[in-house]
């Protein structure tokens, strides 16, 4: 696509918007890490040179309009069903690169069966799982990944989420890594450039799991929702680091390339 950018003469490009990302400014809130996640996926699609055979399965949540932000074919899925829709697409067109982009309600609440069974079947698809511990689009209700004590509109003050009423947060990577058909399972965070770089490497491996025919690749990205957390964007990144990472440890839980993978978490291989 023609992007008429001013480039300094003789300089090399350090960063420009990836081809796979459209020019449309997103509707996400200022500081929302959805934008970072979208960007990383687009960068990976460009680097793997698969943009023109990629199909996005958009889900329901703040990212419901994701098909406006990626320069790829897309199909909108009902809430939670993206892995099933992706299965239909990938089995029909195995040469396509098919990925789902889902939030914590879509994947860990209503869609739990679909992601587990897509992994069980070893579907050659990639899932980008955005975990911001809250339901963003609908105005800040509890998510399956909401922390104990965290205030949301359905786990209100003064107690926030109470285990005796609402249970405790669910750890998706730990569950999925036990499934044989899952080829790559990793959890990363988007709170600082170093973690963002690790996240990108994991996203690339999750796509390679599909492209090289190994099975399902999933990357859980710890993300912020500063508006529903009622914080500034910068404070939200700090809250993620202090509160979410201890509950959702970062690392690679399953990597088809590593023998004995799936029995634990490897921090060393997080890159």
């Amino acid at each position: 696509m023609a992007r008429n950018w001013e480039r300094p003469k003789g300089a090399e490009i350090v960063y420009e918007r990836p081809e796979a990302l459209s020019d449309t400014v997103t509707h996400y809130c200022p500081g929302c890490t959805h934008g970072i996640a979208h960007r990383l996926v687009a960068e990976v699609l460009d680097e793997l040179d698969v943009r023109d055979r990629t199909i996005l399965i958009a889900s329901v949540g703040c990212s419901v309009l994701a098909y406006n932000y990626f320069n790829v074919d897309a199909q909108q899925a009902a809430h939670g069903r993206a892995p099933a829709v992706a299965t239909g697409v990938k089995r029909t067109s195995p040469g396509s690169v098919v990925f789902t982009y889902q939030g914590d309600g879509d994947l860990a609440a209503i869609g739990t069966a679909e992601i587990i069974h897509a992994a069980m079947r070893g579907e050659k698809i990639t899932t980008i799982f955005i975990n911001n511990a809250i339901f963003g689009m609908t105005g800040g209700q509890m998510a399956p990944t909401t922390l104990v004590g965290q205030e949301t509109t359905t786990t209100p003050a003064p107690t926030g989420r109470l285990p005796e009423r609402a249970g405790m947060p669910i750890r998706v990577c730990e569950i999925l890594s036990q499934i044989d058909g899952a080829a790559y399972v990793a959890r990363q965070a988007l709170n600082n450039p170093a973690n963002i770089a690790k996240a990108k490497r994991s996203i690339k491996k999750a796509f390679e799991a599909q492209i090289n025919g190994h099975g399902l690749g999933l990357v859980e990205l710890l993300s912020t929702c500063n508006v529903n957390w009622k914080m500034s964007p910068g404070d939200a990144l700090k809250w993620l680091e202090s509160n979410m990472i201890p509950v959702f440890p970062l690392g690679v839980f399953k990597d088809w390339a590593e023998a004995g993978s799936g029995s634990g978490r490897s921090e060393v291989a997080a890159g």
């Binding site: 909108q76 009902a78 099933a84 829709v85 697409v89 679909e114 069974h117």
Partner: protein, 356 residues
């Protein structure tokens, strides 16, 4: 198989074979009585033709797989029975709105709730009124014999592709389980079908295709609805199918599917007793064959609707008749099958000016 040779087949299996011959290359389903032979048959038949068979984790997942496969260009099908078809309503609504083709087979059983496994026709409303949310319809076929089921399967896929919509085939446990002689159609090679330009195969050298049903702007949402309605109006004008036995009669029994076969026996008996009774047998339940009612209205004095339900298609009969003659109803529920004797009693009541 030799073309034109009759083979004895169980209904569910004949339907499945007919789907493959119609070019179906993707099936996802979940076991539920009384249609299990359909996924079982396709689990070995589809791989033979390079197709995909998936036993999905639920009927809900299955319809969403069909939605995806249809969006990527395949002739895709799912099958289930009443409780499972309830689960599929969300997906069918999405297919209708996003204009994605596919075929859904419902072998109706007694309901509501978990119900029974005996045949019924109590999903007529669900099938013909757009059983999921929103203002949409699906073409609905109500075949009466295994041969007819085989024949409508090809039409179902053709209409689904032509109009880009889901199509429902409403059967029941009798059709699914009975064995009848059938002539199977000549196979269609999906590679010879017209190319679909709107599908998701990768945006190479073109703008991305987006298959979507989200329309946050109400003006655009209304425009979608009007576009769908225009499609449905064209289908209503051109795709009605019905059989009229003994046109020119004074009274008619109206029934579809296996109930119509029972009613035909009662009609034959009634005519032998001197009653001027005919049979109107809708084959498309949506579009409802109102044209057939117009054809017979001049001489008609009454219509008796017989269903394996407590009255669903009778609403459409009343709408078609539009107050011009009485409309009577007789039904059995919960998996009970009416006998020809019971129907004959109701026919006689109708001709005497009474009846329910």
């Amino acid at each position: 198989m030799v073309l034109g040779r009759k083979v004895l087949m169980k209904g569910n299996e004949a339907l499945a074979e007919a789907a493959v011959r119609a070019g179906c290359r993707f099936f996802a389903g979940y076991p539920i009585t009384p249609q299990n032979e359909i996924p079982e048959y396709l689990s070995h038949r589809l791989p033979e033709v390079g197709g995909t068979f998936i036993q999905a984790e639920s009927e809900l997942a299955a319809i969403n797989m069909v939605y995806g496969a249809g969006g990527a260009g395949a002739r895709a099908m799912t099958s289930s029975s009443s409780p499972g078809v309830s689960l599929k309503q969300e997906g069918i609504s999405y297919m209708a709105a996003a204009e994605v083709p596919g075929v859904i087979v419902n072998m109706v059983r007694g309901g509501p709730g978990l119900g029974g496994i005996q045949p019924a026709q109590s999903d007529y409303y669900q099938a013909t009124r757009g059983g999921g949310h929103g203002d949409y319809r699906t073409v609905v076929f109500g075949p009466a014999t295994v041969q007819e089921a085989v024949d409508v399967m090809g039409q179902a896929f053709a209409l689904a592709d032509k109009y880009r919509m889901p199509v429902v085939i409403l059967g029941d446990g009798m059709i699914g389980q009975m064995m009848e002689p059938v002539i199977l159609p000549e196979p269609v090679d999906p590679a010879t079908l017209p190319l679909k330009t709107w599908i998701t195969r990768g945006a190479k050298d073109r703008n991305p295709n987006v298959i979507n049903s989200l329309y946050l702007d109400p003006e655009k949402c209304e425009a979608l609805n009007l576009r769908l309605q225009a499609k449905y109006q064209e289908i209503t004008a051109t795709q009605q199918m019905a059989e009229i036995a003994y046109p020119g009669s004074q009274y008619y029994v109206v029934a579809y599917g296996t109930t119509a076969r029972i009613c035909r026996m009662a009609v034959t008996e009634a005519r032998a007793n001197g009653l001027a009774v005919g049979l109107i047998r809708p084959i498309t339940l949506w579009p409802f064959p109102t044209d057939s009612f117009e054809k017979v209205m001049d001489d008609a004095k009454g219509f008796l609707t017989v269903e394996m339900s407590l009255g669903q298609m009778v609403d459409d009969v009343r709408l078609a008749v539009n107050g011009r003659t009485p409309v009577y109803f007789y039904g059995r529920a919960g998996g009970m099958v009416p006998s020809a004797e019971e129907v004959l009693i109701e026919i006689e009541k109708m001709t005497r000016g009474g009846g329910r």
